[in-house]
C-alpha cells in the first residue's frame, strides 16, 4: 500500500508529539478540523491538545514565540503557511533564533524547525509560488533542508529537531499528493540507493549505479522532473544520468559525492528558485574548489527564469523549471 508524502509527514509529526512532551506545533489554521492549508497537521490538535496551536496571522510573532519556546528547552515545529511569507519572519530567524546559538559566547541550544510549503506549478501566482531558499544561505547556525519523496520524514524530522539549531524545512507543495518511495525502487527503470552519512543523499540511477555520463543534483519537487528527464535522456539520446536528491541543502557536504562527480562528464544542479544568487551557484562553487582541474566544462545550473511567477498556468509553465527544461539543457550540453 503506497503512502502519500502528506501522510508520511503527518505521521512523522504525530510520532514526534507522542514521543516527546516538549514538542509543540504552531501555525496558522493548523488545528482540527481544518488541519492546515495542505492538511499536513490533520488530526494532531485533537490528539495532542494544548501542544498543537493555531495562531493569529502574525508570522513574525509566531517565529518569536517559537524561538522563545526553543530558548527554554521546548521543541517547537512552526509552520509558515506559504513559504513566501517567511519574509515576515526574517528578523526573528536571522537575528534571534540562529544567533542565539552562538552570540552569547557559549552554545545555547535552539531546537526548532520552521516548515515552509514552497514551489509553484499550481497557478497560485507571484506571492504564493516561490522558492525562497537562497535568501537563507550562509546564515551561521541555521541549516536548510528539503522534503523529498525518497527520505522518510519520520527519520528526517526527528533528526532536525535533535540538532540544537534552527532548521528550515522546505516542502515543495506538489509533493504532498505524490507517493513516498521507501524501498529503493521508483519504477521498473529507476532505482535508488543512498550516499553519505545519515543517508543524506538519495541517488537515483537507471539500471546500475556504476557509472554515468551526467550527474544532476536536484532536491525536492525538482527531483521527479530530473529523474523523468534522465529516463528520457537515456531512451532518446543514450545519455546516462544519475540524480542526487539531498535532504540537507545547506551546509552542503560535498565529500560523499566526490567519487560520483569525478567520473561524470557533466554535472548539473537543478532547482526551482529564480535565476541569480542561487543555491546551485553555491554548490557549483564548492565543486570548483575540489574538482576544478578535472572538470570538462562548467557546472550546468538549471533554475527558473529571473522573473515573477505568473498565475496563468501557461505563463507559469514558461517561467518555472519543468522536466523539459532539464532534458533540453543536458542534451544541449552533450551535443555542444
Amino acid at each position: 500500500m503506497r503512502e502519500r508524502v502528506v501522510a508520511n509527514l503527518n505521521q512523522a509529526l504525530r510520532a514526534l508529539l507522542a514521543k516527546d512532551e516538549r514538542v509543540y506545533l504552531l501555525g496558522e489554521d493548523i488545528a482540527d478540523p481544518y488541519g492546515g492549508a495542505f492538511k499536513v497537521t490533520r488530526g494532531l490538535s485533537a490528539e495532542f491538545p494544548g501542544r498543537v496551536l493555531s495562531t493569529p496571522i502574525s508570522e513574525s510573532g509566531i517565529a518569536g514565540v517559537a524561538s522563545g519556546l526553543a530558548l527554554c528547552g521546548s521543541r517547537p515545529v512552526m509552520e509558515v503557511m506559504f513559504g513566501d511569507f517567511i519574509g515576515l519572519c526574517f528578523d526573528q530567524i536571522y537575528n534571534f533564533a540562529a544567533k542565539s546559538v552562538s552570540m552569547y559566547g557559549h552554545k545555547v541550544p535552539m531546537h526548532m524547525v520552521i516548515r515552509c510549503p514552497v514551489g509553484g506549478n499550481r497557478g497560485y501566482g507571484p506571492t504564493h509560488s516561490q522558492s525562497p531558499h537562497k535568501h537563507f544561505i550562509g546564515i551561521p547556525d541555521l541549516s536548510l533542508w528539503e522534503l523529498s519523496p525518497l527520505h522518510d520524514n519520520n527519520v528526517v524530522l526527528d533528526r532536525l529537531l535533535g540538532r540544537g539549531e534552527p532548521c528550515i524545512f522546505f516542502e515543495d507543495k506538489v509533493l504532498y499528493g505524490k507517493q513516498m518511495y521507501l524501498d529503493g525502487r521508483i519504477s521498473q527503470l529507476l532505482s535508488f540507493d543512498f550516499l553519505g552519512a545519515e543517508a543524506n543523499y538519495a541517488r537515483v540511477f537507471v539500471a546500475s549505479p556504476d557509472s554515468c555520463d551526467c550527474v544532476i543534483i536536484a532536491p525536492g519537487g525538482v527531483a521527479e522532473q530530473a529523474w523523468t528527464a534522465a529516463a528520457e535522456l537515456l531512451l532518446e539520446d543514450e545519455i546516462s544520468c544519475q540524480v542526487i536528491v539531498p535532504s540537507r541543502l545547506y551546509p552542503f557536504d560535498l565529500e560523499p559525492l566526490l567519487p560520483v562527480l569525478r567520473q561524470a562528464r557533466l554535472i548539473c544542479v537543478a532547482e526551482q528558485g529564480t535565476a541569480g544568487g542561487t543555491w546551485g551557484g553555491e554548490i557549483a562553487n564548492r565543486i570548483y574548489e575540489k574538482l576544478w582541474g578535472q572538470l570538462r566544462r562548467p557546472v550546468l545550473l538549471i533554475s527558473s527564469a529571473a522573473a515573477v511567477i505568473p498565475a496563468a498556468p501557461h505563463l507559469e509553465r514558461d517561467v518555472l523549471v519543468q522536466t523539459e527544461t532539464i532534458y533540453s539543457a543536458v542534451r544541449e550540453a552533450f551535443h555542444a
Binding site: 503506497r2 495542505f38 499528493g177 521498473q188 527503470l189 539500471a207 537515456l234 531512451l235 539520446d237 543514450e238
Partner: protein
C-alpha cells in the same frame, strides 16, 4: 453508454487516488448513487454515478486517476454491458495490481539500429539487461548471422578514412635507420618517477616540428587545382591506441613549443587514450601525422596517409645491432627504422630523403631538441 470521468475536485492536485469502489460490476445504480471514493491531498470525496445504468468498472483500487480519467462506464442494460465486455480487449484486472512485469526498455538509437540492420525486436530476450542500447543491437545482429562479426562504429570510421586515402593519394615510401642511443640515454637519465617522461615519441615530435621551416610543404594539403594550401605551424598528429580504440590526437604548435610542454601534452593524451575520453578539439587540426608502431617486433611499417595531409611518418620498434667501433672493437648500438609515406604529387624522393635525414640528425643529438 456513459463514461464516468473524474471531475476536478480542488486546485491542489493534478491527480487523485481511487481508494474504494462502493458498487460492483453489473450493479444497477442511480445517477446520485455514490459509486467510488477518491482521495485528494485534502480529503476523501465520494463520486456519484452521474447517470442511471449498469456499472462496469474501468480502474482498479489504489490506481492514480487524473482529472478527466474514465473510471467506469454505465450501460443501459446488463446485456449491453456483457456485449461490451465480450467485444473489448481483455478487461483490466480489477484486483489490486501486482508489480508490473519486467519489460525491457529499448532506446531510440537501438530501434534505429534494429531497423537499419534488419533485426526483429519482437520476442527478443536480453537476459540481465534493463536497457537495450544501439551497441547491444549491433552485437546481436552480428551474433545472429553466425560467423559475422560486426564492426564497431569507431572501426567503421577508420575504414572509411583509409579507403579514401588509398583511392585518392598516389603514395610513395622511403625509409631510414635512425640511431637512438643518445635518445635512450636521455630518457634513462630522467629517472623512473618522471612526471612527463621524454622518450622517442616526444623527441620525434619535436624534431618534426623543428623541420617546419625548411620543409613547409610536407605540412601542406594538396589541392586539385595544382596548389598546396598551408596552415600555420606544425600540428603533429600522433596515433595512440591503448585498447579503447585508435585515436589520432594533435600536438599543436610542435614547432614553437618546448620539449617539456610537448611531453606534458602527450602524457595527457595517453591518459585520455586509456579512458577513451578525447574532446573533439583535441582530435582536429593536424597537418602531419606520426604513426607509432614501436612494438619491438615491428621492423617495417608503411603508414597510410591521412586524406588532407601530404605525408605520414612511422616509427618502428627499437632494434639492436653490432658494429665495429672506431677502435675496431665489436660494440652494440640501437637503431629504429623510420618510414615516410608521402604524396608523390607534392613531395619527391630527394625531398623525402632530405627530410628523413633532417630527423635522423636531430634525433642523434637530442640535446638540441628543447
Amino acid at each position: 453508454m456513459h463514461e464516468i470521468s473524474v471531475p476536478k475536485l480542488n486546485s491542489n492536485d493534478a491527480s487523485y487516488i481511487l481508494v474504494e469502489w462502493l458498487a460492483g460490476d453489473g450493479d444497477e445504480v442511480a445517477a446520485d448513487t455514490p459509486i467510488a471514493v477518491v482521495e485528494t491531498s485534502k480529503a476523501a470525496e465520494e463520486l456519484e454515478a452521474g447517470h442511471d445504468g449498469v456499472l462496469q468498472r474501468a480502474l482498479a483500487v489504489n490506481a492514480d486517476c487524473g482529472i478527466g480519467a474514465v473510471i467506469g462506464r454505465l450501460f443501459p442494460t446488463e446485456q449491453a454491458r456483457t456485449a461490451y465486455i465480450a467485444a473489448a480487449v481483455p478487461a483490466p484486472d480489477i484486483a489490486a495490481p501486482g508489480p508490473a512485469a519486467d519489460d525491457i526498455v529499448i532506446t531510440k538509437a537501438a530501434r534505429q539500429a534494429a531497423a537499419e540492420l534488419g533485426v526483429d525486436l519482437a520476442g527478443l530476450a536480453f537476459p540481465g539487461k534493463k536497457v537495450v542500447k544501439r551497441d547491444d543491437i549491433e552485437q546481436l545482429a552480428g551474433a545472429a548471422a553466425g560467423t559475422v562479426i560486426s564492426l564497431s562504429a569507431a572501426q567503421r570510421a577508420v575504414g572509411q578514412v583509409v579507403t579514401t586515402a588509398q583511392q585518392s593519394i598516389p603514395a610513395a615510401f622511403a625509409m631510414v635507420k635512425i640511431q637512438v642511443d643518445a635518445a635512450l640515454r636521455l630518457q634513462a637519465g630522467q629517472g623512473a618517477g618522471a612526471h612527463c617522461p621524454v622518450g622517442l615519441p616526444e623527441l620525434l615530435i619535436k624534431a618534426v616540428g623543428g623541420l617546419r621551416g625548411r620543409f613547409d610543404w610536407f605540412f601542406g594539403r594538396y589541392q586539385d587545382n595544382g596548389t598546396i594550401s598551408l596552415t600555420a605551424g606544425a600540428q603533429v598528429g600522433v596515433t595512440l591506441d591503448a585498447g579503447q580504440g585508435l585515436y589520432v590526437p594533435v600536438v599543436k604548435d610542435a614547432d614553437t613549443r618546448s620539449l617539456a610542454e610537448i611531453a606534458d601534452v602527450l602524457a595527457d593524451f595517453r591518459i585520455s587514450a586509456l579512458r577513451g575520453s578525447f574532446r573533439e578539439s583535441e582530435l582536429a587540426g593536424g597537418n602531419i601525422t606520426i604513426s607509432l608502431s614501436n612494438d619491438p617486433d615491428i621492423v617495417l611499417a608503411r603508414p597510410i596517409i591521412f586524406p588532407g595531409q601530404a605525408c605520414m611518418l612511422c616509427l618502428c620498434g627499437t632494434q639492436q645491432e653490432l658494429y665495429l667501433s672506431d677502435a675496431e672493437q665489436i660494440a652494440v648500438r640501437h637503431y629504429a627504422n623510420l618510414g615516410l609515406s608521402y604524396d608523390h604529387r607534392v613531395i619527391n624522393g630527394r625531398d623525402a630523403a632530405l627530410f628523413l635525414r633532417g630527423i635522423k640528425n636531430a634525433m642523434a643529438e637530442p640535446g638540441t631538441l628543447r
